[in-house]
């Protein structure tokens, strides 16, 4: 119940090939996060899984059965649309309850589930409003609520928290994790938020331009990215890529994450000038223009005062540098 196999799925809109052969196996109860640059095909893949879009070729297998001919309603899924797609004529409560009512769930049970979902999403005060009377974040929460109450075996979330504030986002994220544990449902989750991806995923799928770049556990991707793309995509601020030649290395590119650089005013591997410092409170990003390494970002824990123009030395942690070949693959 809830396993999913995607076998060589391709999807083209006219001449534009959006999915270029996706193979993915999701076991029952897994929490899989899709990440990838905007426009890489994440939503399209979710829609193919849901049955809202036909794949041009390939198969989608849910629980061992090829579902190409199964309508979305019969696939046992719930989906949070990136665009919400709320029912404009129904109140928040009915937006959430409609699917259950259709399924013949007893009224008491419907009310109970709506109660749980709306308290989890802080939607109680808005239960009798219509979508047009809600703020963007509230609408997004209704969309989540609508999916959540159905308690299916397979959830598809398309950037469900993008319009929520930080506090609510953390809360909701925890609630989703809890829901996942409670229902033992399989969840497929698209996000652009690194924290969400890292904290929620059993498995992260990195997509790029319609292809899967790498699949793995969060820390696995962070620690051993398969290639330059994944290395750059996972982690924020982005990994610094330095031309291997300039550093006298054999590798084409050397990668080092901002957090794996230490700075010192006196000495270090790379001498550079401070271009700009971003103060985020808990940490500071310092942009250094280095003689040897070009423009790099250094992430420093806590508040660090660096005046633009000052000279600083950055030193990479040698145990945590990555070496990439000409094809972008990591060199072991």
């Amino acid at each position: 119940m809830g396993s999913l196999n995607i076998e060589n799925v391709k999807k083209a809109f006219g001449p534009v090939e959006v999915l270029k052969g996706i193979n993915l196996e999701v076991t029952d109860g897994e929490f899989v996060v899709f990440v990838g640059p905007s426009g890489c095909g994440k939503s399209t893949l979710l829609r193919v899984i849901a049955g809202l879009e036909d794949s041009t070729s390939g198969r989608v297998v849910i629980d061992g059965a090829d579902v190409s001919a199964t309508p979305p309603a019969k696939r046992g899924i719930a989906m949070v649309f990136q665009t919400y797609a709320l029912y404009p004529h129904l109140t928040v409560k009915n937006n959430m309850g409609l699917g259950l009512r259709q399924a013949g769930t007893p009224a008491a049970e419907i009310d109970r589930r709506i109660g749980i979902a709306s308290s989890m999403l802080s939607l109680e005060p808005y239960l009798s409003r219509r979508p047009a009377e809600l703020s963007g974040g509230q609408r997004q929460r209704v969309a989540i609520g609508r999916a959540v109450v159905r308690e299916p075996k397979l959830f598809l979330f398309d950037e469900p928290l993008s319009n929520l504030d930080a506090a609510l986002r953390v809360n909701t994220r925890l609630e989703i994790a809890q829901l996942h544990r409670r229902l033992k449902a399989t969840m497929i989750y698209v996000t652009h938020d690194q924290v969400e991806a890292m904290t929620l995923a059993d498995k992260i799928v990195v997509l790029n331009a319609g292809k899967i770049e790498q699949i793995g556990g969060p820390m696995e991707l962070y620690n051993s990215p398969a290639n330059e793309f994944v290395a750059g995509f996972i982690g924020s601020p982005k990994m610094n890529f330095v031309d291997g030649g300039r550093l006298g290395e054999t590798a084409k590119t050397i990668g080092v994450r901002p957090e794996h650089l230490t700075v010192d005013a006196k000495s270090g591997a790379w001498k550079g000038t401070v271009v700009h410092a971003e103060h985020l409170g808990a940490d500071t990003n310092v942009y250094l223009d280095c003689e040897k390494a070009g423009l790099i970002t250094v992430r420093i824990f806590g508040v660090y005062n660096a005046e633009p123009g000052a000279t600083l030395y950055a030193t990479p942690d040698p145990a945590k540098t990555y070496r990439f070949g000409a094809d972008g693959k990591v060199l072991k």
């Binding site: 190409s68 001919a69 309508p71």
Partner: protein, 279 residues
């Protein structure tokens, strides 16, 4: 949407219902067209059978072609219909936009005023209209017909279009306003393209009574130069003798242009015209 969203029994059911209704809708029409190719005796002798070599007769069509300049009549009908449609759609959409978009004092009264026209048959105003046309020297011109049909079509157009225009997202229009678009540009560039399906609907609803109207051509423009097809076909409706062959032929012919116009307009009935606008 995907193929998976279609279920086979439901598709079959839909086709069954639609086919049945199509048959009901077309049967009488087919009877008319089939019979227009038969001799009179065959029409009434066996109306259900298609023309056989023995009963095949183009007498209707030859009569029609022979009697009066039907090509010219077609042209008149077309000019009148298309011109009236243009004005009805333009003026009607403008007024509908004003009524649906702006709140101003007297808005609903104006809406009601513009709807009055569908409540009284305009035929009653014939004498006054004719007097107006006589006074302005427009009798026996197509302009007279266009004016009358424009006025006649406006109420319905305003009524329907203002309802549909209320559905155009405010955010979209507001985005236009923020973009510095004038109200006119918002109307022409944003709202009009987005209500295309309803414009097409109104166009079709407006066109049919105009094309088929007998009364105003008879009153306002009965002259040979300005005759419309419907009026021309009427020649064959006599007091005691009705030339059914010719009537059927003339009216069968007259279906074609409207049908073509209909097909043209109904291509504007397109799905998803507003999708991707807002989330």
């Amino acid at each position: 949407m995907s193929t998976a969203t279609r279920s086979l029994p439901r598709t079959i059911g839909a086709h069954a219902i639609l086919l049945t209704y199509t048959a009901i809708a077309l049967f009488p029409v087919v009877i008319v067209i089939v019979n227009s190719f038969k001799s009179r005796a065959a029409i009434f002798g066996a109306p259900l059978t298609p023309p056989t070599p023995k009963t095949f007769d183009l007498i209707g069509y030859t009569t029609v072609i022979g009697q009066g300049d039907f090509i010219h009549y077609f042209q008149n009908s077309l000019v009148v219909t298309v011109a009236s449609l243009f004005f009805v759609l333009l003026f009607g959409a403008m007024a509908a936009f004003a009524l649906s978009e702006y709140r101003f004092r007297g808005n609903s009264l104006m809406g009601l005023y513009l709807a009055l026209g569908i409540m009284i048959p305009i035929r009653l105003a014939t004498v006054a209209i004719l007097q107006l046309m006589v006074a302005s020297g427009l009798v026996n011109t197509l302009t007279a017909l266009i004016l009358v049909y424009t006025a006649q079509g406006l109420p319905l157009a305003v009524f329907i279009l203002s309802e549909f225009m209320k559905q155009v997202s405010d955010d979209l229009k507001n985005a236009g306003r923020i973009d510095g678009l004038s109200e006119y540009t918002i109307f022409f560039r944003l709202v009009l393209p987005l209500v295309r399906p309803s414009m097409a609907t109104v166009a079709v609803f407006t066109m049919i009574p105009i094309w088929n109207d007998l009364w105003f051509p008879l009153i306002l423009a009965p002259s040979e130069e300005t005759k419309t097809v419907t009026l021309g076909a009427q020649l064959f409706l006599g007091q005691f003798v009705t030339n059914w062959n010719a009537i059927l032929a003339a009216l069968s012919l007259a279906i074609m242009p409207v049908l073509i116009l209909y097909v043209i307009f109904s291509r504007q009935l397109i799905r998803g015209i507003t999708s991707g606008a807002v989330k």
